[in-house]
Assembly symmetry: C2
Homo-oligomer: 384 residues x 2
């Protein structure tokens, strides 16, 4: 099966529901991708991922390139074989992590030079190198190298970033084409729209990339510290510029309500470390909003994390038990909390797909906000 995106339903409110087909399986959108940074969704086994209902996961090129190295993963038979995950995998280009994690990163027209945060060794990622690495890792959906701007970013720097991102996208497409088969399954390239919070630069970037006819488009350079309303405005603006027949992936977003809003603007794919990272720190997401399970108020609360949740954790364990696990520094705490929060996210997206199909997304969103309290005003600025 060749990579395919088909629109199934379009809600009057702007949200859309579709289906993505890859050689490792088909899944419906909007979809949330759990983040498996180093070839593992932290604390969670692949069996858990199937049970939670994950359909596609994200892995980080930067991390896997440095450790264990893309060659070792290729030798294992690729990322699916290596981590025993038989469904689709999307990899980022590694560019974002170079800026946020590496020491001494330096960008030129050739690519991004940096020193490893693990051992200080020197590396150069070029547009072709990041595709080669992703080919070796073996992901189904790959990102081209882009220049992600930080926030705030002045207009000349943003213009330069957009220009360089387009040039690198052109190089990637001319070297590899938008899609090709290796090791018996198809790989596709997504372009990444930049432009910070400048509407006209977003438009320039989107138009230039759309002309390259990528199989899908990512919206990058957001959730890097800007206020939420700017994020959501830029998302809405960018989706309106992208071809309707291609999937749109909003990188690194976000809290449940941010995902709900972005879906309303026509986004199809999401990834974020928020559910997993928060869970490891003892904060989970529920139908009532964020829940800090470590809080002493839960010490004698023998009810489930979320009475409205159908996950195995909510059926089996109490808030009091999870609170004890976190309080005692037990590794089972992060594991159970992560399982629940990923289930919550994936179940939320499944519910949203259903209401879009029924054309009742806007009514559903109102109901959602009546029970879901704000996740807080925490910045998006997290490793993704």
């Amino acid at each position: 099966m060749a990579f395919d995106f088909s629109l199934i339903a379009q809600d009057p409110g702007g949200a859309r529901m579709g289906r993505i087909t890859t050689d490792h399986g088909t899944f419906e959108t909007p979809m949330f991708m759990p983040v498996g940074t180093q070839g593992t969704v932290k604390t969670i086994s692949s069996e858990d991922l199937y049970a939670i209902g994950a359909e596609i996961i994200l892995a980080n090129t930067y991390h896997l390139y440095l450790r264990p190295g893309e060659e070792l993963i290729a030798e294992a038979g690729g990322i699916h074989e290596f981590m025993s995950w038989r469904r689709p995998v999307l990899t980022d280009s590694g560019g974002y992590q170079v800026f946020s994690l590496a020491d001494l990163s330096r960008i030129t027209d050739e690519g991004v030079a940096f020193r490893s945060h693990i051992d200080g060794s020197s590396h150069l990622l070029t547009p072709s190198r990041v595709v080669d690495i992703q080919i070796a890792i073996g992901s189904d959906i790959m990102m081209v190298l882009d220049q992600c701007t930080s926030y705030p970013c002045d207009r000349p720097t943003t213009e330069e970033a957009v220009q360089r991102t387009t040039r690198w996208a052109e190089q990637s497409i001319s070297l590899y084409g938008p899609r090709f088969t290796r090791n018996g399954y198809e790989r596709v390239l997504f372009g990444i729209v930049q432009g910070s919070v400048y509407p006209d630069l977003r438009e320039r970037s989107a138009n230039q990339l759309a002309a390259l006819d990528f199989p899908g488009y990512a919206i990058g350079g957001l959730s890097v510290g800007e206020p939420k309303n700017e994020t959501l405005e830029m998302v809405a603006h960018t989706t309106s510029l992208l071809p309707a027949g291609k999937p749109r992936y909003l990188m690194g977003v976000g809290y449940p309500e941010d995902i709900v809003e972005a879906i309303g603007s026509g986004v199809d794919l999401f990834d974020c470390v928020i559910p997993t990272r928060n869970a490891r720190n003892g904060t989970v997401f529920t139908s009532g909003g964020k829940l800090v399970v470590k809080n002493s108020v839960h010490a004698r609360d023998f009810g489930p994390l979320d009475p409205d949740c159908g996950c195995e954790i909510c059926h089996t364990y109490s808030r009091a038990y999870l609170r004890h696990l976190f309080n005692a520094g037990e590794l089972l705490g992060p594991r159970l909390a992560t399982y629940h929060s990923l289930y919550f996210y994936l179940h939320l997206l499944s519910e949203i797909r259903q209401v879009i199909r029924e054309g009742s997304f806007l009514e559903w969103r109102e109901r959602f906000y009546r029970s879901y309290r704000d996740s807080g005003t925490g910045s998006y600025k997290e490793e993704r």
Copy 2:
């Protein structure tokens, strides 16, 4: 169902196979109990424990008393409800941890005074207090308070410890009886034989406790730093003194080969942190012996931890993947390694029960040592 131990088979070599019945279920012996120190077998869920084939687990009274406190566990409905484990639970008396973990412990005829290693608060554990705590925790099998000697221990101190252990055992039996029902299920008390490495003091302790007609007997004061041959000599000596119709529990032992040897001396129950603690540090047990999965020799080894193992981990993941997880500091590593090593221990015991039933334990033991390399000469001195 009242607590019951029945002998099913006696191997010519001294090993025995039996069945223990409790109100939370029946299991065959010899049996290994995974250690759930703080109300969780570290990294492992109760669903995992069922899947691994665990039939009974151990929980530590000292730890649970300090955090979250036995009252909270009682409020939750007991340890089975609290940690969602429906099979039998055995608790120790807490005495051992007081000596090994607490600050400023002091022993008198009344009990053991100590300061918490968590917050420095002062506590006194008496023979009745430790039973009350275990009643609140809700274990099926409880240990009376004993005075565990360290190694080496001079003869007068050992004599005093034996005398005090007997007196405390008498107090416990006279206050509670050897068995009673609370919250709808039966609780039984085990006595603990002390005597360090003095054969005549082991004999005195065993005889005095046997006279109290406990439903079962633990062998304490071993695996506290003495050479292995002394441990095994004392085990063989002590089991020969204990009533044949009662289960014998060797506390805190040990490596696979130590368990095999102790079974040959007629021991029925074991607990030890070795499989779980080693796993968290990247060392697992396999049919070939200890395997340090973190070693770089496994970096490109895409075979399972143990090709002879039937566990889910060995079916799903490679040594190279586990090595990567440990190398990258990923929490999934300790979890997968713990799962495998507990499966290995429980499967080993299951195999041993089978050969005892068939009367071929000695031949099996020879075969076992042909493939199993020594686990090393590491001291037993571990928290249990």
